[in-house]
């Protein structure tokens, strides 16, 4: 994988690092303010699209931990995403009255279970073998979900009603599209901060050293397999969280989302936005969905929007391997 340049200023103590941190927080707060205000300005349609972009962004960000920071391309994130969806659905269907937090818990637990299973087997392999193994694992989950009609609803999936947005003792009301947006935004922002912290922690540094040179990392004495397993599980957990959010937003869980095309789109978001940046994948997801929306607006619903998007994707891999964020960063530096 092409590697993003390590941000030296972040690692240096003192002046440069401090200035960088200040710039980061200012930018973060400005962006958050814009995203909080956005649903008040946008129409219903765009509000929903923005929320959805944030959810896809979370999914892409979770896989960036593997692609960008550990150097493992996962083609199996649809499994974690899908199990998050089905976990949330099961909680909302079984427990009465439906509880939002229980749905999240169920979703996370089932995604973590899948991630443990996948991580145990796939982390013994490298490069394309890892990619293919994760792909095959996600297909196993897909086949199980697709054919186990009694539990998963098979092809039709599961349909449920959205739980109330409840914060114990403080707030309890039906979701509106605006509160939904804020709720998703809060979770995505917190996830981003956690993932950012993780990538800057000693653990994250080990992951990056695995990406740069795995044999050497092993020779230094790190147990590479364990680090990789934890990375896959952490990534799967956040992917599952994205699945939970998507299920709650759309009030259904469907096997289509477990199919490997979802994983492929996740990789596309990463590459378009810029791997190894965490923000990039969200930008990539936004770019992808906005392009798709604009294309189907101007060229009609029947137009196969994936053709121009696929061409853009290929061109970006060839000419712009750092993605939009990498390009922006280089442009800003100049």
């Amino acid at each position: 994988m092409t590697t993003a340049p390590l941000d030296k200023s972040r690692m240096l103590p003192g002046g440069a690092g401090l200035r960088h941190t200040a710039i980061f927080w200012i930018a973060f707060c400005l962006l958050m303010a814009a995203l909080i205000a956005a649903p008040l300005v946008l129409s219903e349609f765009w509000r929903r699209l923005l929320t959805e972009i944030l959810i896809w962004g979370l999914l892409a960000m979770s896989s960036d931990l593997l692609i960008g920071y550990t150097g493992m391309v996962s083609f199996g994130h649809s499994a974690f995403f899908g199990l998050g969806m089905y976990g949330a659905a099961s909680a909302l269907l079984i427990v009465d009255p439906p509880n939002l937090w229980l749905a999240i818990l169920f979703g996370l637990v089932s995604a973590a279970g899948a991630a443990l299973f996948v991580a145990y087997f796939s982390t013994r392999l490298r490069d394309i073998y890892f990619a293919i193994t994760t792909l095959i694992f996600s297909q196993i989950f897909y086949v199980i979900i697709f054919t186990w009609t009694a539990v998963t609803g098979g092809e039709n999936g599961l349909i449920f009603t959205r739980p109330h947005l409840s914060i114990p003792f403080l707030y309890n009301a039906r979701f509106t599209s605006t509160t939904m947006h804020w709720f998703v935004l809060a979770i995505v922002a917190v996830s981003y901060l956690i993932l950012r912290r993780v990538t800057q922690s000693p653990f994250g540094m080990v992951l990056q050293s695995i990406r740069e040179n795995e044999p050497r990392t092993r020779a230094i004495g790190y147990r590479v397999e364990r680090f990789k397993m934890v990375a896959v599980m952490l990534s799967g957990l956040f992917a599952g969280l994205a699945g939970v959010l998507y299920a709650i937003q759309n009030e259904f869980a469907a096997p289509d989302f477990v199919y490997f095309l979802t994983s492929g789109e996740t990789v596309i978001y990463n590459v378009m936005g810029g791997i190894g940046t965490l923000v990039g994948p969200i930008v990539g997801a936004g770019f992808f969905h906005l392009m798709r929306e604009l294309l189907s607006r101007f060229l009609g619903d029947q137009f196969p929007y994936l053709i121009p998007l696929g061409i853009t994707f290929i061109a970006m891999i060839i000419f712009l391997p750092q993605g939009i964020m990498g390009f922006a960063r280089r442009w800003l530096n100049e």
Partner: protein, 298 residues
């Protein structure tokens, strides 16, 4: 002992034999698809995600040529030729700029290509399943079934194409170039072999093999734009189980996996039988990561 005897008696021998024939027929088509994939990987380190779409497009072009001319054999040749040119173009445009970069980039690019091709097929031909009639419709009796000769012909033709390709690799001038490039790229170049041409040629040959298998397979189930997805997954499994870049291994693995899947289909739903091949793949990766049929474990 009683339980075992009962189990053995419950195995339907006739069904088992029918599934053996089915498995071998499916295995030969799969071998044809997978040998193109493994050829491309073994020589260029390219994991061709779009291989299933080349298979699917081959079937569609076969349908188009068949509708125009009414000849199945013309469809087979015409479609292979068109897809070979398409494959060559794909290699030149999308993959040549990536030579020397991490092989993971190739899986991303070919995934992009597969999305484009699949959506092109959906756009061009619509979601309706197209049919190519079988070129020979005679049947023979296999137990209580009327088994079509055409399926036996498919297996024989696939074997013939693979065999012909093997001879070409062994004795043809271009085939020797291909093997030389696979062994040592730099040395091959130093000896005056036009390596870029070999790359493009190999990709075209692999694409043509995928297209040929698409046309051969089309009369059995019909042509649809999603048919490539199942096949690319199966071909991946075969190629990994057989050992990446191992030509003979992937043929053996193709037949093994198809046989196991068709036996499993006696007891479970065919869409669940796929899981058996997934399990074979996982076990292979865990215990013999270089492939079941590798001569020397790395």
């Amino acid at each position: 002992m009683g339980a075992l005897g009962q189990f053995l008696q419950s195995i339907p021998v006739d069904l088992l034999l029918i599934q053996t024939v089915n498995g071998i027929v499916a295995g030969m088509i799969l071998a044809l698809v997978a040998s193109g994939l493994t050829l491309i990987f073994g020589i260029m380190d390219v994991v061709n995600f779009a291989h299933g779409e080349l298979f699917m497009l081959g079937a569609y072009f076969g349908f188009v040529v068949f509708s125009a001319t009414g000849s199945f054999w013309l469809a087979l040749f015409g479609s292979s030729l068109i897809v070979a040119i398409l494959g060559a173009a794909m290699q030149i445009v999308a993959l040549r700029p990536l030579i020397g970069r991490d092989p993971l980039n190739t899986i991303l690019v070919t995934f992009g290509v597969s999305l484009i091709l699949q959506n092109y097929a959906l756009w061009q031909f619509g979601p309706v399943v197209r049919k190519i009639p079988e070129p020979i419709s005679s049947q023979f009796t296999l137990f209580y079934l009327q088994y079509p000769w055409y399926r036996i012909l498919i297996a024989a033709l696939s074997a013939a194409i693979i065999g012909g390709f093997w001879l070409f690799l062994k004795y043809g001038k271009f085939g020797i170039w291909i093997r030389a490039t696979a062994q040592d790229r730099t040395m091959a170049q130093a000896m005056g072999i036009p390596v870029p041409l070999v790359y493009t040629g190999v990709f075209a040959i692999g694409a043509a093999m995928a297209a040929a298998s698409g046309v051969l397979f089309a009369p059995m189930v019909g042509v649809s734009h999603t048919m490539g997805l199942d096949w690319v997954l199966k071909a991946f499994i075969v190629v990994v189980v057989g050992g990446m870049g191992n030509f003979g291994g992937s043929i053996a693995a193709a037949i093994l996996i198809s046989l196991v899947e068709s036996y499993a289909a006696i007891w479970v739903n065919p869409s669940q039988a796929v899981i058996v091949s997934f399990v074979i793949l996982i076990l292979t990766l865990l215990f013999r990561p270089t492939g079941l049929f590798a001569t020397t474990p790395r």
